[in-house]
Each structure stands twice: as structure tokens, then as C-alpha cells.
Point group: C2
Chain length 252, copies 2
């Protein structure tokens, strides 16, 4: 049995998220069904983690075991001829026998993107959360840095998520502005359920003047979900990259 | 009667082009129906020109006459609350009585975008024509410049288009590369039917080595459609801007 690692890009707009669910079209299901056609056997695909309905990925990573004789690097070409245009395989390669897309992951990078003007954007509307109000850019830039470091992020987790520990390390949190478009990037060793979307919603509340940038550390310490901002909608979120080797080091 | 000028951005993916057609969803129809709700009267919208099914616009321009008392600059806000997310009004203003979105237009700028790699792009797949073959970038950069100037572009027009003259002036033709993405920009006093898509298809053939860059002047002189390359698909095309005042001057 070969263990094949795939790097996958997708536009999540048309899908009910990553995870296979009865009666719904999901990324995992489309990929597993396509792999089954290609390999002539049932294939179980393990993703680095789930993404919610409407969330996108530029570097989702997954692995599967197969008896197929297709050379590992040819899977990407073969899959791309069969997959819809909104799911693309960036690369395929043979991984070590112990490689597991979820358990071997050392870190992930997410992006949350907003368009900040009166009218929004028609071109690329699927990829940006539209915020029409004036945003205080400096305040947001100051606030985003407070997320860096090792913290208990319980205040930034959807209520009722079953996890052992709510402590996570964010190696880098930054904001990049390109005209009317604002991107937040978060690189960390792991993320709680809805954590990036709640951090984004909180940063937008900072921009609106509802939360002061220096109150972020206090909100983190509170461990109280009601202290943080709202959960920003899924379509602004993209899983950018999953890291398996070197953990990206935060700027000194 | 007031004459209102709109600048409109749209993602053409879901629409059968600009022009109202029986039984089809088009940009013009959606806008006219929305304006009718807003103004309480039938509204006839005049666009700067048609765009085909699947073609996008960042700066389509249109005008309409109305007895409505809505202040001209408020139309954009009011329309944006009623329109779908893939059609946005960038601005609305009162225009002179003789302003006509089509006949007053002095020049237009179009963009044609391709993604040039093996796998294509999932994010933004609606906006890029996927060309998986290796392209000779230098040859394409050389070729694109041959389109500048005043020429008879009959070889770059869909067969059977009824026009008086096939002479057009291209003020600027350029290519911009951003990683795997290549954009062609054409600014001219007017464009024949499918002209930008045929120029793009010809440039891609130059990139593939099927046409030499220096044979472009000869293809133009031939006035023969069969000498030029294929018509590139609509989804790579975006109407960027319509100019009514200063004609943008080409770099010396």
C-alpha cells in the first residue's frame, strides 16, 4: 500500500464543507468518489482538518492509502482532468508510511479577507466579507499583534466545542491592506472551532471602534466567548497552508 | 427628466450577458427590473455596449432617464441593497442631458486574464482562462505591442458581424504577469465583435509557438479571420473602464 499526499485548492462556495455528510455535496466526497474511479477501489481520504461550508482552501492537505500502480506524481494530473474546476490538485507525492495529514500537521496558516468600501465587490464576491462601515486601520493593526503567542483561546471558540485544551500558539498574526481589501493572516500550531472567524470578527469590531485594541489581552484572559466579537461569515476564510516540517518562525 | 449615469461592476458567470433577452437572466434585465422597483416607473437602461455571456465588468457604464426624486448619488446605495452580490453599482451621478452611455463613449479598456500552470486555479476559476501548456512570455510581450495603432482589424472580428468600418485605434496594448497569472490590457477607441478574445487567443498561440510574434502585422494586413488565432473563452474577459472625457494617451 502506498501512502499518497495531496495538496488541494478549492473554492468552497458550492460545497457543504470538507467533511463527507449524507445527502450533501462536500469536498471530501467529491475527491473520494473521483479517487475511487481512478484507483478502482474504495479510497478513504484523511484531511488535515475540516473546513466549514463556504470556506476556501489554497493548501488543504490530505492523504490516502492505495494499491493503485499510478505513479504518485501522476495523481494530480489524472485527478484534475476528472475534478470540477473549483477543486484543483496542486501536487501529489508519495509520503512516508507514518504520514497522517491531520496528526502529522505541525502548523497551519489561515487568511481572512474583507472588502471595506460602500458597495462591496462583484468580482470575487465569494472570497470577501463585505464591511461597508469606516474601519480604523491603525487600531486593527495594533490589535492583531495581541493574538501572537501562547494563550488560552477559550474566548475565541464556538461554544460547546469538545476539546481537551483551549491553549494554542499563534506564531504570526498580521494584517495586509491592498486598497479596499484587507487580509488577516494567522499562523499557529492549531486553531479551535471558529477561532479564526471569531478573531476576524473581533478585529472588525476594533476597526468599528466597538472594542479598543488594547482590550484584546483582557478578552483573551477572560476565557469568555461573550467578550469577543461576532463570528465573521465563512466565505472570507481560506486555509492557506498546512505545515508538516519546519514551523514558520514569527518575526522577532 | 433626469439623466443618471451608473458605473457598474459585475461577475458575469451567472448571466446570459448584458443585453435583455426573452427568457434569460441578463445584467440589463436585473438592473432595469430593480430600477423599476426603485423609481416606480418603467426604466430603459442604455449600456456602453453589450458584454457576452460569462464576460465580467469592473467599469461598465450605463445611463437612464427618470422622473424619480431620488438624489442622483443615492441611486448607488439604494440599488446595492436590492441587487444580488455579483452586481454592484460603483457610483451614480447626474449626467448632462445629452450624455449617452454608448454614443458618448470615447474609449474602452478591456482585460483578458489567463492562468498558466498545470492545474489551473480553483479560487477565482471564473475569472481566468486556464492554459496548461508552456508559454513563451517574451514572444507574447513582443507580439502584444503590434496591436497598438490604427489598423483594419477585420482579421480579429467574428465572421459575419455587421459593421460599417473595421478600422479601430488601439492606444495601448500591454501584458502584465503576476506569477502564474497573465493579463492582457487593451485600450482603444472601439472594439469589433469578439476582437479582444481573438487578440487574446492569437497571443496565446504566439506563446505556444504556433504564431511568430512578428507575423502579427501580416495577420492584421490579411484582413482574414482564419489567419488569426482562436477566440479565447468569455470568462477570461473583463470590461475594465469606459472613457468619456480624456482619451488615455499611449506611452511614447
Amino acid at each position: 500500500m502506498r501512502n499518497i499526499k495531496l495538496i488541494i485548492e478549492y473554492d468552497g462556495s458550492r460545497y457543504c464543507g470538507w467533511q463527507r455528510q449524507k445527502g450533501e455535496t462536500t469536498i471530501q466526497q467529491v475527491l473520494e468518489d473521483t479517487l475511487e474511479k481512478l484507483c478502482g477501489e474504495k479510497v478513504q481520504l484523511t484531511g488535515s482538518g475540516r473546513t466549514d461550508s463556504g470556506v476556501h482552501a489554497r493548501g488543504q492537505t490530505a492523504n490516502f492509502h492505495t494499491r493503485s500502480k499510478i505513479p504518485p506524481d501522476r495523481f494530480s494530473y489524472a485527478l484534475n482532468t476528472l475534478l470540477p474546476r473549483d477543486i484543483r490538485i496542486i501536487s501529489s507525492e508519495e509520503a512516508g508510511a507514518d504520514f497522517h495529514a491531520r496528526f502529522s500537521a505541525k502548523a497551519k496558516k489561515y487568511r481572512y479577507s474583507i472588502v471595506n468600501n460602500r458597495h462591496g465587490t462583484a468580482i470575487g464576491w465569494q472570497y470577501y466579507y463585505h464591511v461597508p462601515m469606516h474601519l480604523d486601520i491603525e487600531a486593527m493593526e495594533k490589535a492583531v499583534k495581541h493574538f501572537e503567542g501562547t494563550h488560552d483561546f477559550a474566548a475565541f471558540m464556538a461554544a460547546g466545542s469538545p476539546v481537551k485544551s483551549t491553549v494554542r500558539t499563534i506564531y504570526e498574526a498580521k494584517m495586509v491592506r491592498e486598497g479596499d481589501f484587507i487580509h488577516f493572516f494567522f499562523t499557529g500550531d492549531g486553531f479551535l472551532y471558529n477561532m479564526v472567524r471569531i478573531m476576524a470578527g473581533t478585529l472588525i469590531d476594533v476597526g468599528k471602534g466597538k472594542i479598543s485594541p488594547d482590550s484584546i489581552p483582557g478578552i483573551i484572559l477572560s476565557r469568555d466567548r461573550t467578550q469577543a466579537g461576532p463570528t465573521a461569515p465563512p466565505h472570507g476564510l481560506t486555509l492557506e497552508e498546512v505545515y508538516y516540517e519546519n514551523i514558520p518562525v514569527r518575526d522577532a
